[in-house]
């Protein structure tokens, strides 16, 4: 076996390699579609209009239309139009998106007073943060209590179970009526989208705590409030942390809908604005940034989790 295959076959490297591969594969497909004209390229980007009245330089027309016009001009003996195969405007090539990614942070926005890309992002992150914090302040304790005390669980959970089927965006108009048109209703949508799942999931996690631990604590003289603070909470903490990570991911999925409510703001405002001017490279760049922030923060939290709960080794894979 060659040294290279040995190097590649080490289990950790194999894992890292597959992880990188899982990102490279879709990018490779994107490259193939973008750079190999025979793969798709259903349109023609006009270089020279020739004799066609309505053709303009930089315009995209369907391949069949171009072929028709080409034949037509040839017949009439007028100058021939020329162009190169191209993908539709809504599918920019990777390098264009990469350039937009860079220029989004370096060049000022086209309109005066419009926020920079990073300002839009920061606004979105704040919406998520406050929505998630407000939901957690009530949801986590309520979940733990509902999981610890059967009667409280039965009192609260059926209604919450019902409520979580109501789609959060449905409350958009109501949230605007109550909270105005700025950040209030956006945060409210995130809270509504997160809170009800949160209570149920955390109550369930609490119920899964090893019963022997509670019983041991009770025989050692622990009860009531102290039992919850000293045994239930630390006992479920690693799993609670995982739950919160997943819930934070869900909160992100509510972001775009939330930001459309009232006056559009944040990264959503940026995306819709860029799409309006057909700057689809910027649109893709913004979408990818959302992914990077979400995925990156989750990786960070997973790593932090392993540091925070050293006793949890082997029981859980982050």
């Amino acid at each position: 076996m060659s040294a290279l295959t040995l190097w590649l076959n080490a289990p950790q490297r194999r894992r890292a390699l597959l992880t990188v591969g899982s990102f490279l594969l879709p990018i490779l497909v994107w490259c193939l579609v973008s750079y190999l004209p025979f793969v798709w390229h259903p349109q023609v980007l006009i270089d020279e209009p020739g004799g066609v009245d309505y053709f303009q330089t930089g315009m995209r027309v369907d391949r069949s239309d171009f072929a028709d016009q080409l034949a037509d001009m040839a017949q009439q003996g007028l100058p021939l139009p020329s162009g190169s195969p191209a993908n539709p405007i809504y599918l920019p090539a990777p390098h264009e998106v990469a350039k937009a990614f860079y220029s989004g942070f370096t060049s000022p926005p086209e309109q005066k007073n419009a926020p920079w890309l990073h300002e839009s992002l920061w606004h979105s992150i704040q919406i998520i943060f406050w929505g998630f914090v407000i939901s957690s302040i009530v949801g986590v304790p309520l979940g733990i209590l509902a999981g610890s005390y059967a009667s409280l669980g039965r009192l609260s959970e059926p209604f919450i179970e019902f409520f979580r089927y109501l789609p959060a965006p449905a409350f958009g108009a109501l949230a605007v009526a109550v909270l105005g048109i700025y950040d209030g209703p956006k945060i409210a949508i995130i809270v509504i989208g997160t809170f009800f799942q949160q209570v149920l999931i955390i109550a369930n996690t609490t119920r899964k705590l090893e019963a022997t631990l509670i019983e041991a604590a009770r025989t050692l003289g622990s009860r009531g409030w102290r039992l919850i603070a000293r045994v239930v909470v630390p006992g479920i903490l690693p799993n609670l942390y995982q739950d919160q990570r997943i819930l934070l991911g869900w909160a992100w999925t509510y972001l775009i809908v939330a930001e459309l409510i009232g006056t559009s703001s944040g990264i959503t405002w940026y995306i819709t604005q860029q799409a309006r001017y057909q700057h689809f490279d910027n649109v893709y760049a913004a979408i990818i940034i959302i992914g990077i922030i979400g995925f990156g923060s989750d990786l960070l939290l997973a790593r932090l989790g392993r540091k925070l709960f050293p006793w949890n080794t082997g029981r859980e894979k982050g």
């Binding site: 019983e215 041991a216 009770r218 050692l220 003289g221 630390p234 006793w311």
Partner: protein, 307 residues
């Protein structure tokens, strides 16, 4: 309570003068735990089940009592009721003459499964009881060190439970229960999950602890050797419903050593318990003891015989 004389195994009732004197000394001590006409019924989808019926016994100070019985005889239910983790349906559980109501520090408990708090170090696990009873961290720390010393785990004070072997974890669990200085230590098959060698060491270790402390122990097991080796008296339960079949005074003299496993008194006592919990089966009654129940289907090559 004793069963009528059994002629085939007479020697388990014969006690040497020292043993008889020892039992006299035990019975002269005060009663720590008294169980009177205890019964437990609970509802199942199949109707009401009687787990325990009319249990009666007393445990004296510094006595070591084992409870033994086949699976399903309610021995775990019994110890959970004594610990206050389950409620009983009828009868009384009296500790120092006062009725037991819920779990309390006066009854320490060691569980079969690993019940240590995984997020606390060994020392913090032992400190849990004292802290719950309002001692300062400093006092709790001192007490914990003292008890870890007793079970020989001072070196592992700052380890987490998952870093310890099974036997060590149970030693921590014992220290954690004892630090509260309970009147009685309840042990629910504490060595059941350990391998044979570790289990033997732990039995020896437990007897050492028991000898050197003012502690009364009620110990649940399904292992006959373990029960005879450890106990002053053995409470034999029978299943469906759980009832006391016999309370056996173990005639094996103390101090106990593993060498006694082969002595006639030890074997006679063991044979008696064996006969009580595995009575000769009447035909077709016990499925577990009847492996010939049906023809065994062969899943391997017919010519490939292992015997």
């Amino acid at each position: 309570m004793n069963a009528p004389q059994n002629n085939s195994q007479p020697s388990y009732l014969e006690q040497s003068p020292e043993v008889r004197e020892r039992f006299q000394r035990i019975y002269d001590r005060e009663t720590i735990l008294e169980v009177r006409q205890l019964s437990k019924r609970y509802q199942t989808p199949q109707g009401e089940t009687e787990a325990l019926r009319g249990i009666d016994f007393k445990v004296h100070r510094r006595e070591f009592v084992c409870v033994i019985g086949p699976s399903g005889c309610g021995k775990s239910t019994l110890i959970r009721i004594l610990a206050g983790l389950d409620k009983h349906s009828d009868g009384d559980v009296l500790l120092d003459g006062k009725p037991v109501n819920g779990p309390g520090r006066d009854r320490g408990m060691v569980f079969q499964g690993y019940s240590l708090f995984p997020w606390l170090t060994v020392k913090e696990n032992v400190m849990f009881g004292p802290e719950m009873s309002g001692h300062t961290r400093n006092t709790a720390d001192n007490q914990a060190r003292q008890w870890l010393d007793l079970v020989g785990l001072s070196k592992f004070a700052d380890s987490y439970p998952h870093q310890l072997s099974g036997g060590m974890r149970q030693r921590v669990a014992i220290a954690r229960a004892l630090v509260n200085e309970p009147r009685i230590l309840l042990m629910d098959e504490p060595f059941g999950a350990l391998d044979a060698q570790t289990r033997a060491k732990m039995q020896h270790h437990l007897l050492d602890i028991w000898k050197n402390l003012d502690i009364t122990i009620l110990f649940i097991t399904h292992d006959l050797d373990e029960a005879v080796y450890l106990a002053d008296r053995i409470l034999v339960l029978k299943p469906h419903p759980g009832e006391v079949q016999e309370i056996i005074e173990v005639p094996v003299p103390r101090p106990r050593t593993p060498a006694q496993f082969d002595s006639p008194v030890f074997r006679a006592t063991k044979a008696r318990i064996e006969a009580l919990i595995h009575p000769p089966v009447e035909s077709g009654e016990d499925e577990e003891n009847n492996p010939e129940a049906g023809p065994m289907i062969r899943f391997t090559n017919v010519t490939d015989n292992v015997e």
